[in-house]
């Protein structure tokens, strides 16, 4: 472990930050989030063409940039800072990683380049019921053989379903957990966009009713690959969250230094000073966990599952706490629509429970640690 970013990585961060400063100021976020799709095609295309960010952690062999997880984490962190509303997590992380770890060679060669180029948007439809990110223990089924399967069931909290070109759907076959590609325009696919608290992150309920799907990888052999993909998604979401938390912290610190009450800035009140130090600690600890886990993924750490849960739980709690604290320190203005704080608060609320809430990750983490001890 290096515990610090290389010069190249720092430059990469600067580069990405500048891109989002230019393309996605908060006014733009507000505009996009009020649109029906919640997605802006032109920024996405620039992201793909100018930065090649859509393929950042897709191997070069499949048209991506082949960067490591640390760079993916940096990109997510910067998107979290500016609250960039896009199907990046859905397509370039969840779907791309699911394909990377589950699909066969030909399928990867066929599907990944279009994701890397930002030409196709894919999403992973795997959550059911309460939305806990369990890979197995699902109700969705698929029947058929070879390339001809029919899927039945309901997927919940499917990210960016309304803008996805296709879905990667988990389902049980006779042979076990399998992954299928389902075209977004297929008949028998019912996409219900859900009303969400965080308008910058859209989810849908997707109903499959005898819907045709193409098998990805081997039948019954999707579990391990999906779990690998999820670990990357957990840490990506953690990095996004610490980016948002840090931005909230910076904005709030600045606000306390400007806002005057009783003839002095509120930053001069000791109670506020002490709270800002605890706030800082909270954010820095979560950042350390997110950074460490990204590094660990790149060196192939064996305990990545545990670390990814640590990063996700820690970032979720830190981000939500940051949101609560920031609104409070802004006072009445922090509760208004015009003030930007609530946008991050709502992302924090969404990120807290999406892909497993802290309690779920706590339990998963300790389970892994007990296994480690036993081994």
């Amino acid at each position: 472990m290096e515990f610090q970013f290389t010069g190249e990585q720092e430059q990469f961060r600067e580069f990405v930050r500048r891109f989002f400063n230019d393309t996605t100021p908060t006014t733009e976020v507000r505009r996009i989030m009020e649109t029906e799709s919640g997605f802006d095609e032109s920024i996405w295309q620039r992201l793909a063409n100018e930065l090649s960010l859509t393929g950042i952690s897709i191997p070069e062999a499949y048209g991506g940039s082949g960067f490591g997880t640390v760079e993916l984490g940096i990109a997510m962190e910067e998107m979290g800072r500016c609250l960039y509303p896009s199907p990046f997590l859905a397509s370039s992380v969840l779907a791309a990683k699911a394909l990377e770890f589950v699909a066969g060679e030909n399928q990867k060669a066929e599907l990944l380049p279009a994701i890397a180029a930002g030409e196709k948007i894919a999403t992973l439809a795997f959550l059911e019921n309460e939305g806990a990110p369990v890979v197995t223990d699902i109700n969705c089924t698929a029947q058929g053989s070879d390339s001809e399967f029919k899927l039945d069931g309901t997927k919940q909290f499917v990210l960016d379903a309304t803008v996805a070109d296709y879905f990667l759907v988990t389902a049980m076959t006779d042979k076990g957990l399998s992954l299928f590609q389902v075209d977004g325009s297929t008949a028998g696919l019912n996409i219900n966009a859900l009303k969400v608290i965080d308008q910058t992150r859209r989810v849908s309920r997707v109903e499959l009713n005898n819907t045709p799907g193409e098998l990805i990888g081997e039948e019954g052999a999707a579990q391990d690959g999906l779990e690998q993909a999820l670990n990357i998604a957990f840490l990506a979401l953690a990095n996004e969250s610490v980016g948002g938390a840090e931005r909230l912290f910076e904005d709030t610190l600045e606000y306390t230094k400007l806002r005057r009450q009783f003839g002095r800035t509120i930053a001069s009140f000791q109670a506020i000073k002490h709270r800002m130090t605890e706030y800082l600690l909270n954010v820095e600890l979560a950042k350390s966990a997110a950074y460490y886990t990204a590094e660990a993924a790149d060196i192939g750490a064996e305990d990545l599952a545990k670390l990814a849960s640590i990063a996700k739980a820690s970032a979720s709690e830190a981000y939500l706490q940051a949101g609560i604290e920031s609104i409070q320190l802004h006072g009445g203005i922090g509760f208004t629509w015009e003030n930007n704080t609530h946008l991050w608060f709502k992302r924090a609320k969404s990120s807290e429970v999406f892909l497993g809430d802290p309690a779920w990750h706590h339990a998963r983490m300790i389970e892994r640690m007990v296994e480690e001890q036993a081994a």
């Binding site: 939305g131 009783f262 003839g263 002095r264 629509w337």
Partner: protein
């Protein structure tokens, strides 16, 4: 001799004789105002009976039991009434008090400003005398119901050379004039309970100055004291089971319509408070009651909210018994913040990923989603928790006051 027994008897007899659910709201309230039964703790010369608070509470209780409608109390009206009663001129009392009680006028409170949310005495609304009226320029905020108020309670600066608290004067301002523009302020939970009020060369009649020039802060403290008493829930409450009373008379319909308007800004307040009542039922209906982690959080929440309720009742019991107020009386707001936050945690844990949703996709017809984006307001509204802690530390715990940076002429304070 007046005692509770005889008063209860008397009010019941009077209600038996006069209560008619088919009167118009205005007719009935006019009757209440004229007889003094509407505000029995107000003085006899001003529409009351001069009763002590305990007897007035007994009267109110009888009204509730009887199912009789009272005088107009919703909104800022009673704060305006109490303030004018104490500080208003004879003419002001004549002009305003009666129409407050009959409900003919509605009021709003123009204290907070964008630059002085917690620091009300920091008002920079500029008020200059021109002949027999004042010209007002400035901006107010967090004003409930300003968009339909007839009159406003205005705190504004009339002397910039005096120290902060000494340069303020208190006025009544006519809200129906071109110089006063109100704009609803949208909140992060999509409601719009408050207004911004922009005053541009707005006019206040000279005889609508309340109290002495430069003494506005003292008058405002009266308004705030009544507001806090209401917020602390320390005013007597009474309730009757709705089912016991036939509410088919036309007056009830009129009252409900009035209530719908007056209460509109507050419809999300139960969600803001965290809807503790839904916590256990939600845990049961989702099956999360079997999750020991949820059980622990739920227990903490219910302990907190019960204890807060019992603490408020201890305070009320002590007050009713005329005992000196103990520390328990000032803790309600801080407790409410803790309760609401704990409730948001529990609702999130119980609802899992459904906590991402709102409106019809959120559980319980959107209530859960509304809780999650409303709770942050509890610890801010009506004085932030931070201000509340200052007050408790200094007034209840007698800890030293914060060194002030806002003494001296106010115009210099602004330059600090």
């Amino acid at each position: 001799m007046i005692n509770e027994q005889t008063v209860r008897k008397e009010v019941r007899a009077w209600l038996e004789e006069h209560w008619d659910p088919n009167l118009s709201l205005l007719e009935w309230r006019t009757k209440l105002t004229d007889t003094g039964w509407g505000m029995p703790d107000w003085p006899e010369e001003w529409y009351g009976k001069g009763y002590p608070p305990l007897l007035a509470a007994a009267v109110e209780e009888e009204f509730v039991r009887f199912g009789a409608v009272g005088v107009a109390k919703a909104g800022i009206r009673l704060l305006a009434g109490a303030t004018l009663l104490e500080h208003g001129s004879e003419d002001q009392k004549k002009q305003f008090l009666r129409r407050i009680l009959t409900g003919e006028d509605t009021w709003c409170q123009l204290f907070s400003e964008p630059g002085s949310g917690s620091d009300l005495a920091g008002s920079t609304t500029r008020t200059v005398k021109e002949g027999d009226h004042w010209i007002v320029n400035g901006q107010k905020v967090w004003t409930t119901s300003a968009h339909h108020a007839d009159w406003g309670l205005l705190l504004a600066r009339t002397d910039w050379d005096a120290p902060k608290h000494k340069g303020l004067t208190y006025f009544v301002i006519d809200m129906h004039q071109d110089g006063v523009v109100t704009k609803q302020l949208r909140q992060m939970n999509h409601h719009a309970s408050f207004n911004e009020v922009f005053m541009t060369d707005a006019v206040v009649e000279a005889h609508h100055q309340v109290g002495e020039l430069g003494q506005g802060w003292g008058v405002a403290l009266t308004t705030l004291a009544h507001e806090r008493r209401r917020a602390d829930g320390l005013q007597p409450m009474a309730s009757a089971k709705d089912t016991e009373i036939d509410r088919s008379g036309s007056i009830y319909k009129e009252e409900r319509a009035e209530n719908d308007v007056m209460m509109a800004p507050y419809i999300w307040y139960p969600q803001r408070a965290g809807r503790v009542d839904l916590a256990l039922p939600r845990a049961i209906e989702t099956g999360k009651i079997d999750d020991p982690t949820v059980v622990q959080e739920l227990a903490r929440l219910l302990i907190l909210s019960s204890s807060a309720e019992w603490t408020a009742r201890r305070a009320r019991a002590a007050q009713q018994a005329g005992k000196p107020q103990g520390p328990e009386g000032s803790l309600g707001k801080l407790a409410a913040s803790q309760v609401a936050r704990a409730a948001a945690r529990v609702h999130t844990a119980v609802s899992g990923a459904d906590s991402m949703l709102m409106d019809e996709d959120s559980p319980r017809d959107g209530i859960i989603g509304e809780i999650l984006i409303s709770v942050p307001a509890v610890s801010i509204a009506g004085g932030t928790d931070e201000i509340q802690r200052n007050i408790i530390a200094e007034r209840v715990l007698d800890m030293p006051k914060e060194a002030r940076s806002d003494t001296g002429p106010f115009k210099d304070v602004l330059k600090n």
